[in-house]
Each structure stands twice: as C-alpha cells, then as structure tokens.
C-alpha cells in the first residue's frame, strides 16, 4: 500500500529537546514580500484534510482516497471525541476530526511565479479550502491534550487578547484584578 510514495523519513527539520513532539514558531513564514489571496471559491476539501503522524517523502497528486479509508468508531469514553480508525502501511492510526472555530477557514495556498523581476516577491493563491482537519495518532487515542487541540487554543486566546478596545469601553470597564 502506498509503495509509490517513496520512503518514510522521520528526521525532523531541526532537533528539539527530548520529550516534545511539536513546536510553534512566529513571524518567519517564508512568505516575505508576498501577497496572499484568500478566496472561498477554491475546491472544498472539508472531510478530506488529514494530518498524519509520519513524514511521507512525496509532494504531489496520489490516489489517497483509493487506499486511505477512515472508518468511524463511535465516541471516545473519556472525552466524548468522535473517533476514527484508518490503516497506513499496515499501521493502525486513530484520529478525530476537529471543526475549525467559528469565523475561521482553512486555505491550501500555492505559490505563483512572480509577475515582477523581483525574485523575493511572490504571490500565494488559494487552490482549495476546508472547514475541518482530521488528525491521526499512531499509538494512542486522540485527546484534548493533543498538540493540535492545544494549538487551536491559541485562536481562543488571541480573540481575548487582541480584540481592539475603544477608549469608551476602557473608561466604562471596571478593571478589577
């Protein structure tokens, strides 16, 4: 299964300290001097966006839906998450689908050739959109303590932190700490 996809590499791009399985960065997103066109008219991939717990050494089209067939397995006992199972290279994966928070959408962006002579200038176009992400664990059931869940916490925190405040709101608020 998936033998044409190339080998699976588990070398991370940079080596983090032990006992950590994910990391987050800010700002340096390799999109310098870019325009980004966020459109909603691309192909809708909702229900078909999967984050795998391994590195597949391939970029490009593949018969994913022909081989990768997730099955619903009811609801988790502990946290009530809707669970799914799938197999990849004979390994059992356990996953759950996270709907994107209200007001957010997912975009698959593709780099366009720069129309100008400036090599550092790029534009990114929306090729597809999605409203949920299914992420997969290999040796444990999905949980609300998983990294992707926790990454989405940031969307909630950002709303609280970055909601603009007017002078009137500030004056009328009783800030009690």
């Amino acid at each position: 299964m998936f033998t044409k996809l190339g080998g699976l590499s588990l070398e991370p791009k940079s080596v983090p300290p032990p006992k950590r399985t994910g990391w987050i960065g800010r700002g340096n997103c390799h999109m310098e001097k870019a325009t980004i066109d966020l459109k909603r008219d691309g192909k809708d991939l909702s229900g078909r966006v999967h984050q795998l717990p391994c590195c597949v050494k391939h970029d490009g089209p593949a018969s994913v839906s022909h081989y990768f067939k997730p099955k619903h397995k009811g609801v988790g006992e502990d946290e009530g998450l809707p669970l799914q199972e799938a197999h990849f290279r004979g390994r059992l994966l356990q996953g759950t689908t996270l709907p994107l928070p209200h007001g957010y959408s997912g975009f698959v962006l593709s780099k366009s050739s720069p129309p100008t002579s400036d090599e550092n200038s790029h534009s990114w176009d929306t090729k597809a959109t999605f409203q949920d992400i299914t992420y997969w664990n290999h040796d444990y059931s999905p949980s609300q303590n998983d990294e992707l869940f926790r990454a989405f916490h940031w969307l909630t925190v950002a709303k609280a932190l970055h909601n603009p405040v007017t002078p009137e709101e500030l004056a009328s608020s009783s800030v009690t700490l």
Partner: protein, 275 residues
C-alpha cells in the same frame, strides 16, 4: 483539470474567514516585533493586521484530498491588536527623558521608520486604535499623539482581565489552576508582546507580581504537568529553530511491553524494507 494540477510549494493556512464583503487579498508586511525588535512578517488583509504563527508536529505530512504534501506544518493567522505593535514605536517617538512626559508628534512622523515601509500602510488603522493609549492634541486639521503611561497601564490591565476570564474555559488543566497562577499565565502571555522595561515591569508592579514569576514561568512549566501557552507563543529565534511547544499530555500509566514498538522504529523499518 484537478485543483491540484498546478500546485507549487503548498502551504496550509488557517485564517479568519475573509467573508463576502472583503476581497481577501492580503499583503505580507515586515514590522518590528514589539518584544524583540526583530523584523517579523505580518499579514494585512481587509484593513486588519494579523500575526502568523506555525505549528508542526515532530513528524507529520498532509493528505489534502488526493494530494500529498510532505511538510506537515500548519500556519495560523490571527488578528493582532495593532496597539501592541505600536507601543515601542510610540514609546521611542515621544523621546521621554526622566520625569518629562515627552513630545507630541504627528502620525506620519511617528510611522516613518527607516527600512520598514510597512508602518505607513497602517496609518488609518493606527490613528483609530492608538487613541486608547495616547493623549491627542488637535491643532487645525492636524493631530498630535503622545503615549500616556496611565492609559497604557489601564489598557494592559483590561487585557489581563480578558485573558483571566478566557484561560479557565480552555481546558481542565486551566480550570483547576489557582487564581494567582491564572493571573501569572495571563501576564506571561501578554509579556510575549511587551518589552520588559517599561511595560511588563510596570504591569507586574501594579499587580504586585514578581517579574521573575512571569518571565521564568516558561522554564518552570517545562518541568510541570500543568500545561501553559507561553511556550507555544515564543518568537522564532534568529537561527530559525523554533522553540518547542509543551507536550501537555497527562503522564501515561506504565504499560507492560507486549511486542509493542515505537512508531519511529516501525516506520524506519518500513522505509528500509522498501530500499
């Protein structure tokens, strides 16, 4: 023609829905990070400034319909209150010395920063948002701004309040924290956008917190099971290695070995078999 036929270097981005009223065309602009002062990319779309962060599991790739992308990174774009970005700029602009309150300056003067033309693009946004932390004098049709310490402090306290109400709703770990721990968490998240002097120190003094409790929280949390968001918000360092996000999963019960294998061993074996 399939949607993925012409895809080049795909990126997965989760961002605020552009809606029907905006055109969704965003511009990446380079601004100084308010804490470190380093050049940082922000997205300016539909008159809204957004900060970009990325999340990556140690091992990960994407299936996108019938398309595979090796890079398992996910970008998050979230609105940022421009006041955070502008605080250090307005702080420098008033040229405060000692007890002197500093100078009133016009916006175009304040926002002219050599090597950072992006600030000028924010002119209309800044004019409205900075009223909340500035004194403003109008002379004829011109407006002159000067940062006001007491207004900044009140604004920061308001932000702490908002975070304090939000954090306990995130998950069970936050819900069971003491009020003081939640306060420290809130201030340390805020501290990701503030220089220690003057603002973070001023805020900590006002809240009667030791600044070391706030700035040292990230290191302490690395040893604890109670997860916090600070590590997830660290700015990428200059060598482009990102700081790690806390794992946050509860310690698992020790299981007896029953021919189980680490995913790394299994997948690397699968790779070797193929070769």
């Amino acid at each position: 023609m399939s949607w993925c036929d012409s895809v080049q270097e795909p990126r997965i981005l989760v961002a605020p829905d552009p809606g029907t009223d905006g055109n969704g065309l965003g511009q990446m602009i380079s601004l100084r990070h308010p804490k470190s002062g380093n050049a940082t990319q922000y997205l300016f779309v539909n008159g809204m400034l957004q900060e970009l962060q990325w999340f990556k599991n140690l091992y990960g790739s994407w299936f996108l319909g019938d398309y595979i992308t090796e890079d398992g990174r996910m970008y998050l774009s979230t609105p940022i209150d421009p006041v955070f970005i502008m605080l250090p700029i307005f702080e420098e602009a008033r040229m405060k010395k000692g007890d002197d309150l500093g100078r009133f300056r016009q916006l175009d003067e304040i926002l002219f920063i050599d090597g950072y033309p992006g600030y000028m693009q924010l002119m209309s946004v800044v004019e409205n948002c900075m009223l909340v932390v500035s004194e403003v004098k109008e002379i004829g049709s011109s407006k002159f701004f000067r940062l006001d310490d007491s207004k900044v402090l009140r604004w920061l306290c308001y932000k702490v309040c908002q975070l304090k109400q939000t954090l306990p709703k995130l998950d069970k770990n936050y819900a069971v924290q003491s009020e003081k721990d939640t306060l420290i968490d809130a201030v340390s998240i805020l501290g990701e956008y503030l220089k220690e002097k003057p603002w973070l120190q001023l805020l900590c003094d006002h809240l009667k917190l030791n600044i070391l409790e706030v700035t040292g929280k990230a290191q302490v949390n690395a040893e604890e099971s109670n997860p916090g968001l600070r590590n997830e918000l660290q700015e990428q360092s200059n060598d482009k290695k990102a700081t790690t996000a806390k794992k946050g999963r509860q310690a698992k019960k020790v299981k007896l070995e029953t021919e189980s294998h680490n995913i790394k061993d299994m997948f690397s074996r699968a790779s070797r078999k193929k070769n």
